[in-house]
């Protein structure tokens, strides 16, 4: 049947050559190359569930009186946005599952992007000719975070509304332009009337459109440049070894898609997420203890908590505290991420050729150590965002915990980086697993020697503990 389809399209589009090339295209099979697929397929789930939700959600801050099936809120005044989200959760058929699947998919989408970015970073897959794809990927991560934040702010519940207030204050803190930026984005002084409907357009149309386009470019570049691969038998800088797109790669990938869909569906039905009916509708004068954003914004929340009370005030103007952790930190973080391929090329002076074989992380101790140190930094920030919950669960002082996190933020990355560097250097000096096991010979005087593979003089090992080849232990 594929042959018939190919012929039909070929006579109209001239695609047979392309189709045959495509079907036979070889993709390397390592499991760590499927991380991007997790992100891609999660995004697909977001699109599908999101379309369904958009048919029922009302992006409006108009006040309505609740008259639905959730008894503890009956008669309460709330926005149409909040009310429609309750309606989706309680009255729309499959609404709860769709809504929860959508939210779980968002968490997994961002986690997958982070893990995929980590794999690309630690294996050096961002090097020439793939710098452009790295830039696109970092942009996808940034846009994904923004879209996730926009999405969970749409229901106008107490928890996400608190986050919007903080977001407003961060915009406000931008020097010179801050007040105008906030007023134009939100439509006035907080809580302005337009923000939910604007976030809806951003979340449903603008950002998904840009993300889709960038994903297309990301994959087109991958297609054109062919995937990287680890060094190994038969693999060189000039070939790709793996399975063909059709039938086995496509089949396995489709199967993987359904498994992902299954995991998200199971979570969507079995694990409650974002129970907005328990948080109540957003009221500007109310707040809940233990308010946290979704995990991928956690580093920002943690930064706001641990950053000291420093402010710049001069000549009648202020650069307020939140500017530094709220604008400067993300700016520097993403700036460095964008610049990394070029920085590394400059420092290692290795920009002379294309790289298609991947590094093993231990072969690049400096890069790997910097990577783990940065991860440690953001993990500390993430835990700092949960400092009040940690304090409650472990019954310790929240103020003490925050002081400890400040110290940890400086000390832990340095320690992790240093340890990683040492481990990489040691690991790199070990023999490769693929090499033959060492041959040990026992001489008549009772001592053991390692025989070198190429027949050199046996190396004196000294202590009679080495295991003899083939003998009992």
């Amino acid at each position: 049947m594929i042959r018939r389809l190919n012929a039909w399209f070929d006579s109209r589009l001239g695609t047979s050559g392309f189709v045959k090339t495509a079907l036979n295209k070889v993709f390397p099979d390592h499991w760590s190359f499927m991380l991007g697929e997790i992100a891609l397929y999660s995004f697909l789930v977001l699109l599908i569930t999101g379309v369904y939700l958009s048919f029922f959600f009302e992006p409006s801050l108009k006040e309505v009186v609740y008259d639905g099936s959730y008894a503890p809120l009956k008669g309460v005044e709330m926005s149409a946005a909040y009310e429609s989200t309750l309606h989706i959760s309680f009255e729309v058929q499959a609404g709860m599952v769709m809504r929860q699947m959508h939210h779980w998919a968002a968490l997994v989408f961002l986690a997958a992007m982070v893990v995929h970015l980590g794999r690309v970073f630690f294996t050096g897959a961002f090097r020439r000719p793939r710098e452009l794809n790295w830039i696109i990927g970092v942009t996808l991560l940034l846009l994904g975070m923004l879209n996730g934040f926009a999405g969970y702010s749409l229901p106008d519940d107490q928890l996400s509304g608190t986050g919007l207030r903080i977001f407003y204050s961060i915009f406000l803190s931008v020097p010179v332009l801050g007040t105008w930026l906030s007023y134009l984005t939100f439509g006035g002084e907080f809580p302005a009337e337009s923000i939910i409907s604007r976030l809806f357009v951003i979340h449903v149309l603008i950002l998904p459109g840009v993300i889709l386009g960038l994903i297309g470019a990301h994959m087109a570049i991958l297609w054109r440049q062919k995937h990287t691969q680890f060094a190994g038998k038969g693999k060189t800088e000039h070939n790709v070894v793996g399975s063909r797109l059709w039938p086995s790669y496509a089949m396995k990938s489709t199967g993987f898609f359904f498994i992902l869909l299954a995991v998200l569906a199971a979570l969507g039905g079995l694990a409650q997420i974002n129970p907005i009916w328990l948080y109540g509708p957003y009221r500007a004068a109310e707040v809940s203890a233990a308010s946290q954003p979704d995990w991928y914004v956690g580093w920002l929340d943690g930064a706001l908590r641990v950053f000291p009370a420093w402010e710049i005030r001069a000549f009648g103007k202020t650069i307020p505290t939140v500017f530094f952790p709220g604008i400067l930190l993300p700016g520097v973080t993403f700036g460095l991420m964008y610049a990394w391929p070029f920085l590394e090329a400059r420092f290692t002076r290795e920009n002379d050729r294309e790289y298609h074989l991947l590094d093993r992380p231990r072969e690049r101790p400096v890069r790997t150590a910097i990577g783990t140190a940065v991860i440690a930094f953001f993990v500390v920030l993430f835990f700092a965002a949960g400092s009040d919950v940690l304090a409650t669960v472990f019954n310790v002082s929240v103020t003490g915990l925050l002081v400890a996190f400040r110290v940890l933020l400086v000390v832990l990355p340095l320690a992790v980086g240093a340890v990683t560097y040492r481990l990489c250097r040691e690991a790199a000096s070990l023999p490769d697993e693929e090499g033959a096991p060492p041959v040990v010979v026992r001489t008549p005087d009772g001592s053991y020697h390692v025989v070198e593979e190429d027949g050199e003089e046996p190396v004196e090992t000294g202590a009679p503990h080495a295991r003899a080849r083939g003998g009992p232990t």
Binding site: A94, S169, G178, S248, F258, R305, P308
Partner: protein
């Protein structure tokens, strides 16, 4: 039957069973929807149905299809010397043109012509950028419509001289209402729920209150009022710790000393919560003497 094909038959059977499970659970899901639905059952059935389908496809791809590994050569990227397809110029009647090889009038160097064509007119290019810049400037005006001019609005709230303090139900607060150690959220009358005017009214021990310079008479009978909007990032500072007489903001743990003008003593906040000057009128109701004397909430560029 050989060992390999026996394994294959086994795999085939497992895949078939998995697909059967997928179908059955999908039917069960349809039934669940038909009888009204229940999220946990829906999630579980969807999970099993999709999961078995996914496993079946993946196992099929992994075990029953030609696995390779296959090898394919990489083509070299960045070989810039590949010429574009030949381009010729159409000769009109009467035109004289230089014939190229083969007698066909050819464009001398199609790539040079194409890539450098615009660059040969720098003056026009500058005019073009000027025009685009002007259009961009014009586009700012629709953007300006997105919101109002901030103006003085960040420096003012709805509190006025004589505003009655009302609770969230709109009831005015009497001076006899709160015991020492009580707290209530108040708004100016007519503006219940106003985000910038939200205020905490606390009954403190009169003698222990430290009165800052210029704030004499602001806290009658131990009633002290502070803006509830945190000066760090704007969350409502809702936690009043009576025992330590401190206000804690739940968002980023800024701590304010109620006895000393809500001065920040821990956490990322840099400025005290603004204090609302209070009065008790002749009927015993609490009123504001005026609006706050400074901008409430988080800092911004124009705030001195």
């Amino acid at each position: 039957m050989s060992e390999a094909s026996r394994d294959e038959r086994r795999t085939e059977r497992s895949i078939g069973i998995a697909l059967g499970v997928s179908a059955v659970t999908a039917l069960a899901l349809a039934f669940t929807f038909a009888v009204g639905g229940q999220p946990q059952v829906e999630g579980a059935l969807l999970g099993v149905s999709l999961g078995s389908l996914g496993w079946a496809l993946a196992a099929w791809g992994k075990h029953l299809l030609p696995a390779g590994p296959f090898v394919q050569e990489r083509h070299e990227l960045g070989a810039d010397d590949a010429p574009s397809e030949p381009v010729s110029r159409l000769v009109q009647a009467g035109e004289v043109d230089e014939p190229g090889p083969g007698g066909v009038p050819a464009v001398p160097d199609p790539d040079e012509d194409t890539m450098d064509a615009m660059g040969r007119r720098p003056f026009l290019l500058k005019c073009l950028f000027g025009a685009m810049g002007a259009l961009g400037l014009a586009a700012l005006f629709p953007i300006r419509s997105l919101g109002p001019n901030p103006g003085r609005s960040l420096f003012e709230t709805a509190w006025r001289k004589g505003s009655l303090l009302v609770n969230e139900e709109g009831r005015p607060v009497r001076a006899t209402e709160l015991d020492v150690g009580s707290v209530v959220t108040v708004f100016p009358e007519g503006h219940v729920g106003a985000a910038d005017a939200q205020t905490l009214l606390i009954r403190a021990v009169d003698e222990d209150l430290v009165t800052r310079e210029g704030r004499e008479g602001w806290a009658p009978q131990g009633y002290v009022a502070y803006s509830k909007v945190c000066t760090h990032a704007g969350c409502p500072v809702g936690l009043y710790q009576v025992a330590t007489r401190q206000l804690l903001c739940p968002c980023h743990q800024s701590l304010f000393d109620v006895m000393d003008g809500a001065r920040p003593v821990f956490g990322p906040a840099t400025r005290s919560l603004p204090q609302l000057p209070l009065d008790i009128d002749d009927d015993g109701f609490l009123r504001a003497q005026s609006d706050y004397h400074e901008a409430i909430g988080p800092g911004f560029w124009e705030r001195p």
